[in-house]
């Protein structure tokens, strides 16, 4: 291409050299349209699908026997179910951050990662949503416990409870994320419709593309809709984890009743979410040869976001301990002390190691731009955030106000099998997604190809 004026902050390009509108389109759509499915895909899908079957078996047994098969009991009535719910929903937040907030902030590097990050959001919310429903033990009754609808018993949910706020926040989040994702897909579905060789796929993609023809009039409304959705999704995503934190903070349990919870939960959600985006992006770009689109600069930027949110989370841990000490409240001080030195101290210090200590290596540029190290770090943060929720939930509950009602908690086989099974659900959906839909937004990639800028006539 002819000389392009260097932009002030773009020291590294966001796309490999030599790409055109056509090459970007062909590269991304060929992953979906190729006839032969790679062997590696079948292996990955097979493993994921087996784990999904484990989830099916675990949930069937749960419905048959009741929640007694899990480790939850008094005093720890909230165990794996709520902890995995919070973990999954937090992971989803990075997708919305990338697709909505970075769009509003005009961060162009979001372009190649927003599509699969949004898909990740959707699948993570599906995994999360499953937990509270099955935690009720009788999911078919959960409908009237959770949703306000006219029923013959004449009863309604209690809108003063954070748990019902959660129902509204999470169901709105799932709906809006699905719509945002679908709207983003429409022009790409039209590309697949136009490029599919077989009649069947032309019809299938054609139905979902809804007759999109790239009209300027349509793009005009489309851009407006996309920006408005981003503007709506931004306060929504912040509200979702805020409301999740209210489930804890509104209660009077020592260790939960803290005003730092909403911002600290939101930061933790983005932290875990970016870790998951990295965990997925690194194998994806390697396996499908997408290094030109998801460049080292993208990975480094994500590592920086992880480092920043990780520091906010570390501040949250510090303030939690400080506030407990400064409050002078016996129960708060004891809870904090018990976390660090009590029976779950190993879990607490493992969490500090994963979430606070190890991520500090991301300050070093050489490590931040080393792909294997980033992959390792992303897994560490994923584990760390899971441990964080375990520590918050279990250590706060297991020492009740009276020593006579103290207890211990451990996940049973069925707790673990449900959690591992939910990883299978997540991975199965992701494998299907990369096989049948473009994992990178094609039409947005075209806008960052050199030559996409309209030059003013001299």
């Amino acid at each position: 291409m002819a000389s392009t004026t260097p932009e002030p902050h773009a020291e590294q390009p966001l796309i490999g050299p030599g790409h055109t509108f056509g090459s970007v389109t062909d590269k991304i759509s060929s992953i979906v349209l190729q006839r032969r499915t790679p062997m590696g895909w079948f292996v990955g899908f097979g493993i994921s699908f087996s784990l999904l079957m484990l989830l099916l078996a675990s949930l069937s047994y749960l419905v048959a026997k009741g929640v007694g098969i899990w480790g939850v009991n008094i005093p720890v009535g909230w165990g794996f179910a709520i902890l995995c719910f919070v973990w999954w929903i937090g992971i989803g937040h990075a997708g919305t951050l990338i697709s909505a907030i970075l769009l509003l902030l005009k961060q162009e590097w979001r372009t190649s990662i927003n599509r699969f990050a949004e898909a990740m959001t959707l699948f993570a919310v599906a995994c999360a949503g499953m937990y509270p429903i099955f935690h009720t033990g009788r999911p078919w009754l959960a409908v009237y416990w959770l949703f306000p609808y006219p029923n013959t018993m004449g009863i309604w949910p209690n809108f003063r409870s954070p748990l019902i706020w959660d129902v509204f926040a999470v169901s709105t989040y799932a709906t809006v994320s699905a719509m945002f994702w679908f709207v983003g897909l429409i022009p790409d579905l039209a590309t697949l419709r136009d490029r599919a060789k077989s009649r069947v796929w032309q019809v299938v993609y054609g139905i979902f593309a809804m007759g999109w023809r790239g009209s300027a009039k349509h793009w005009h409304n489309y851009e407006s809709a996309y920006l408005l959705l981003a503007g709506l999704a931004t306060p929504l995503v912040i509200s979702v984890h805020t409301v999740v934190s209210f489930d804890f903070a509104v209660g009077i349990v020592p260790g939960w009743h803290a005003t730092i919870f909403p911002p600290y939960f939101v930061a933790g959600a983005i932290y875990a979410g970016f870790a998951m985006v990295l965990t997925l992006a690194i194998p994806l770009r390697k396996f499908y040869g997408l290094e030109d689109f998801i460049t080292l600069k993208h990975l480094e930027n994500m590592a920086k976001v992880m480092l920043a949110t990780g520091l906010i989370v570390a501040y949250g841990y510090t303030m939690e301990a400080f506030t407990a000490w400064y409050s002078g409240n016996t129960y708060d001080m004891y809870t904090s002390h018990n976390r660090m030195t009590g029976p779950y101290a190993n879990w607490y210090w493992a969490l500090i190691l994963c979430n606070v200590v190890l991520p500090q290596f991301l300050w070093i540029k050489n490590l931040r731009t080393s792909v294997p190290f980033l992959f390792f770090e992303s897994l560490v943060v994923g584990v760390g955030m899971w441990l964080e929720r375990f520590v918050i939930i279990v250590t706060s509950l297991h020492r009740d106000f009276l020593p006579s009602s103290w207890g211990m908690y451990a996940g049973t086989f069925w707790d673990w099998s449900t959690f591992i099974g939910s990883l299978g659900l997540f991975a199965t959906l992701l494998f299907l997604f990369v096989r049948f839909l473009p994992a990178i937004s094609i039409f947005e990639m075209r806008t960052i190809v050199p030559g996409a800028e309209v030059k003013e006539e001299a």
Binding site: G154, D194, Y222, L229, P235, L236, V454
Partner: protein, 177 residues
Amino acid sequence: VKGIYGLMAEFHSPTEVVEAAKQVRAAGYRKVDGYSPFPIEELSEALEFDRSPLSKIVLVGGILGLSAGWGLEYWASVIAYPMNIGGRPYNSWPAFLVPAFETTILFAALFAVLGMLGLNGLPEPYHPVFNVPGFALASRDKFFLCIESKDPKFDPEETRRFLEGLEGTPVVSEVPH
């Protein structure tokens, strides 16, 4: 004249199609639409589209969502099933803020998506522009400009000559119904 939908010119770059759109407008054509593989703001400007009414539709959606959410909470907690919970007032408005906020976002987002589809007339199972050979590339790397036959200034011969004379000497095709 009425036998065809319009005349379609094919371009190779966004700069060409935007320049062509400006000239088509300057020549007095009004029923014109562009087709491109990605949104081009300059093209909308060159074709002088009105501001999209979508933001007003979304505002209506948001207000409806707020009223519906709040109304539901008020009706359920004050009228249909009043419950005394720790002496809190039946109309516990601070607690009601959260679900009402969520329904506001939900309705506004639904109105944004359905409004966008409605304004664009989608889903649309059939459209004449797809009859143009090579139009499939409008979703890959080609740019098109179509002057529709319902334009008062449209003339099959003259309009074709005008389009072919534009910069980039585009290939011009008839768009059959």
